[in-house]
Amino acid sequence: MDAGHTERSTRRTPRRWRAALVGLTAAALVLAGCSSDGGGADDATSGAGETGDASEAAPAATDDQATSATDDAGESGGETVTVGMLTTLSGNAAYLGEDTQKGFQLALDLAGADDVELVVEDDAQDAEAAQGLADRMVSRDGAQIMTGIVFSDIANAVVPTVLEQDMLYLSTNAGPSTFAGEGCDANYFSVSYQNDNPAEATGEWVKEQGHANVVAAAPNYQAGQDSVNGFRRTFGELQNEFYTELGATDYAQTIAQIRDEDPDAVYFFYPGGMGIAFVQQYIESGLAEEIPIYGPTFSFDETLVDAIGEAAVGLQNGSFWAPDLDNPANQEFVEAYREANGATPTNYAAQGYDTGRLLLSALDTVGYDVSDTEALREAVAAADFDSVRGDFSFGTNQHPVQDWYILEVVAGEEDGDYTNQVVEKVLDDHVDAYASECSLGDG
């Protein structure tokens, strides 16, 4: 940081680079809004960028968006409806958002819904950035209905700002208790589940299997503790609980403690990559032959079981859906999805698909006029569509009332391909534990 050294580095820098940087700086200041004459150029750049983002949905949408951004949603009727999908498309959980988007898109494509325009943004799993993006999607891109958030923390941050603007939010995945109990909202619909449900289904099953002494393992954070609580709600008291550092993927220590406890069964909640690591290490430790493990569906989606490989076969997990679930809507979906994307759909794709279909059914009812929020709300609440889950309706808190199943991982048709198969239905028309705290149904 001494002068001599600064001089040297300055001299080494080629002149044109400095010119370029000065240009960049100027551009930066312009875009930051520090100069009034940059407006025209800005419009062009943001428009171009947007087309790239939303290309799958609307190849040449720039003009439409510019207009829909300037006029308010008020006067539309039988016009194009803009749906904002804010989801996770980067980072190690990116496939969750991609599958959600593919499922949703498939629903639009199959219905030939030209008058729904999908604007997609990546929340990068950053709650703060996501808020800014949501604002932008509403005020600039003219999104009239929002959907797509994968993670509960992002949903907690973004959804209230959407609801405040009297817009509908349809959750494709995240189902935090925030919006299920006292905090339920007329404009909020969960088309997936309430976060505790998969754990409750698994708890019921483990109880039915006659296991008395069970220990639980989960990452040390809210969703981990919620999941263990959900399990306890249907199973009963646990022998012990182990919490590991969030994101840590070496479970040798927890496995040593489980060995020391010598329980009848283990319940674990390790979503995403953590699940791959836990299952592999558990099997390696030799414990798997003596003590069975059970988990919620989050650790067993089709992408993850492929990654775990052969070792996953036979593991049981609680879910509301499986690719082989026997109903016509599901068969049609799985077939069309395989054809379009060359892979077996995950539950995230199924959730995205159901959300798309639900929305289309509601838009049909209101004749694509979303200006009357209340009419739209009623149309969504009616849930007048064929869900890939078979039975589907909304409870008083506008979360799903649906059946829960135990799935088992099996080898797929091709080598190295694994998938889930239904073993048994464990919970029938299950309502989440928070619904009674919600006052929506009272009025």
Binding site: M1, H5, R8, S9, S90, G91, N92, A94, Y95, E98, N220, Q225, V228, L238, N240, E241, F242, Y243, T244, E245, G247, A248, T249, D250, Y251, A252, Q253, A256, Q257, R259, D260, G272, G273, M274, I276, A277, Q280, Q281, E284, S285, G286, T303, L304, A307, I308, G309
Partner: protein, 304 residues
């Protein structure tokens, strides 16, 4: 007793893994004077290359070699394209430029290998477990401990028994001498950086069976390595060895016994959560204690 033995072995295994990363980091710092935040990225690159090669060939040893070579190659690229221009710079510049490398590497592996998490299976000949004083312990974890011991021996021999080692030692203290001795300093630096990168890549590959191969997988190891070399003393390989093992064991024992200790006072659910947080904090507490007693670490050069 069985639990204690198992946790001790787990602590050693974690410690030796950490050692492979932190010894490279400390070597690079001691020799080149570079604080490399992208060291965790080299760990990650090694893992990704190995996972890719293993998926193609099905051979763990080939994948291991490819991973180490890939990390070394990435290290050479980093050194020649970016790091080399930072030798004259202060630590602030080094932090920022290598942070830039971290961002590029994290996104870069996703651009090359896609966004879905990957795995690397342990080789079939290291599967299963062996009985050790009545405890069933995974063979693969024992193999990591042995690989760690081998790493220490090889590094020790390299530094104390070869000409290159002599240069490295000399370079640590009297850099100008190297030029006078007719050593090609540029090449030596690149070589040392590649060696550190290869070690990180090696650690990345061997720990992949316990991890998910994904972007950012090296970040936590990087920060732990920092704690190791703060404890051990920057630039000291010996310090890195002791620091790694202390950290590995402190973490393993802390995670086990602190929740038990807290459990004496509260209900199990709260105790598990609090104890786990305390366990995570135990390594940082270890660092604070060392700092209070020896601000330059266990084997750092004395303050001037």
């Amino acid at each position: 007793m069985e639990l204690f033995l198992e946790q001790t072995l787990n602590g050693l295994q974690a410690g030796f893994t950490l050692l492979m990363i932190s010894s490279g980091l400390t070597l690079i710092f001691g020799m080149l004077g570079i604080l490399n935040l992208a060291h965790g990225s080299l760990f990650m690159i090694g893992a990704f290359v190995a996972a890719d090669v293993a998926a193609r060939t099905g051979n763990f040893l080939v994948a291991l070699l490819a991973g180490v070579a890939g990390a070394a190659l990435a290290g050479i690229l980093m050194e020649t394209l970016v790091i080399r221009f930072l030798y004259q710079r202060d630590h602030l510049d080094q932090v920022l430029a290598t942070l830039g490398l971290v961002l590029m590497a994290n996104q870069g592996v996703q651009m090359v290998w896609g966004i879905a998490p990957r795995t690397l299976a342990r080789p079939s000949w290291l599967e299963g477990s062996v009985s050790l004083f009545g405890l069933q312990y995974p063979i693969y974890r024992l193999a990591i401990i042995l690989a760690g011991i081998a790493t220490v021996v090889v590094l020790w021999a390299l530094i104390n028994r070869t000409k290159v080692g002599m240069w490295i030692l000399a370079g640590n203290t009297h850099r100008e001498l190297l030029g006078a001795l007719g050593v090609n300093v540029t090449l030596l630096y690149t070589g040392v950086f590649a060696l550190g990168a290869a070690l990180a890549g090696f650690a990345g590959v061997v720990s992949s069976p316990y991890l998910t191969v994904e972007a950012g997988m090296g970040d936590n190891f990087l920060i732990l390595s920092f704690v190791v070399i703060v404890i051990g003393g920057i630039g000291s390989i010996k310090g890195a060895v002791y620091g790694s093992l202390i950290l590995g064991l402190a973490d393993a024992w802390g995670q086990t016994y602190l929740p038990m200790l807290v459990g004496e006072f509260t209900d199990p659910s709260t105790a598990a959560a609090i104890g786990s947080s305390l366990g995570s904090a135990s390594i940082y507490l270890a660092m604070v204690v060392v700092l209070l007693v020896r601000p330059r670490g266990l084997y750092g050069a004395p303050s001037g």
